[in-house]
Symmetry: none
Subunit: 226 residues, 2 copies
DNA sequence: CCTGGCTGTCACATTTCCGTAACAGTCTTG
DNA sequence: CAAGACTGTTACGGAAATGTGACAGCCAGG
């Protein structure tokens, strides 16, 4: 049972290239050249994954993504977005669109395959991040960008908030400093791992009693405990 | 599954032009030349959208719109009105008629398609945006294009008003600058994100005490708080 | 044609935040 | 118990993000 991947791009050459590489890697591939066709195929085939270019005629990738999420038949299919501008990344990965990952053009086939493999690996089990998380008296609301303890909002900076949500979404599992740097500080950051410590400290300070959820795992990293 | 669009216009040339453009864009199109026929077809087909010219013999576009809204079968179908005079706009979008959007003739096919796309995109899930919103002493009236504070109207320009309503409609949720550019400045904006800041400033200035609802979320965007 | 208001952009001021380094405290290991 | 490794804490310079004021182009209405 090869995993089925739906490739959406309006440039035939790009489709061909993607198709070749993915087939080479052992995936079953289908393709669509515009948004409407993509939605139709996605509904009909329920692929294991959609690789979606942002630049499309008529209905752009954002719209397609949104629509895929709306319909029950396709709402849980992982989406990998191919985007041109770095500025769009937050929106792509954010809750509004909820793509699972992104790649900025140009990218190497190797990168693509790695991302796909990663998403499919977790996709089997993991669910999509929730909009709101509650751990006792601690509430984290992503779209509102607010955290609160016993109903009182906690003022957090953008980085602190992202660090908290990243840890909370992987509650129970330890995250290494490098891993946190990748996920919170975006992909390859050239930042000292000790910076994570400082931010953890600030976060703990602001969380007050709620910081009991934040464990230090000596020699490994940090963990959010329920 | 192409979206079905019902085109209503009494001029055969106009119908033909619309039909051509819409079919080109991947929609399924049917047409009617007068009000009675339009209602009949709408009932029978329950299209995904109605494009409705105001100028019709016998029963004009306003009447058709009203009747469509009255019957359960068609009351939720989005309506895009084609109107000649700007003066009619208020009535078209207002509570009495409740069209979803309008276009003043003459318009380019591109404009038409963009409007249609936008309406269909939201129509799939979200309900029609609320006509009037109240947040304490602040009242925002979309059809009248008016905002007021403690009963006193606040003079806002078109952009300021749209920015305010966009934020208010997503009250509580943070909107990134890019997102606001997309939603307020319409489709493909080649505009500096800093422009959003400037308009937020002007908006705050005019809102005066009511500007307490407008939060800045540093590193993320802006948020309307109730 | 011209005038006034709206709009987008820029430059500058200001605030806030971030990353780093240095040091102190704590835990592990032999 | 002591040394070394790891983490917590503090302070600070610099940078990034936002607020603010000014300005020129543009369009609508007169």
């Amino acid at each position: 049972m090869k995993p089925k991947i739906l490739v959406v791009d309006d440039e035939p050459e790009a489709v061909e290239l993607l198709e070749f590489n993915l087939k080479q890697a052992g995936y079953a591939v289908s393709a669509a050249g515009d948004g409407a066709a993509a939605l139709k195929k996605a509904r009909a085939q329920t692929p294991d994954m959609v690789v979606l270019d942002v630049m499309l005629p008529e209905m752009d990738g954002f719209e397609v993504c949104k629509n895929l999420r709306l319909e029950p038949a396709t709402s849980r299919v992982p989406i990998l977005m191919l985007t041109a501008k770095a500025a769009e990344i937050d929106r792509v990965l954010g809750l509004e669109l909820g793509a699972d990952d992104y790649l900025t053009k140009p990218f190497s086939p190797r990168e693509l395959l790695l991302r796909i493999k990663k998403i499919l690996a977790r996709g089997a089990s993991a669910e999509r991040p929730r909009e709101q998380m509650r751990f006792g008296d601690l509430v984290i609301d992503l779209p509102r960008h607010l955290a609160s303890w016993k109903g009182k909002t906690i003022e957090l900076t953008a980085t602190e908030f992202k660090l908290l949500t990243t840890l909370a979404q992987r509650a129970g599992r330890v995250q290494s400093r490098d891993q946190l740097l990748r996920d919170v500080w975006e992909y390859d950051s050239l930042i000292d791992t000790r910076t994570v410590d400082t931010h953890m400290r600030r976060l703990r300070e602001k969380l007050g009693p709620a910081s009991k959820h934040l464990d230090t795992v000596r020699g490994v990293g940090y963990r959010f405990m329920e």
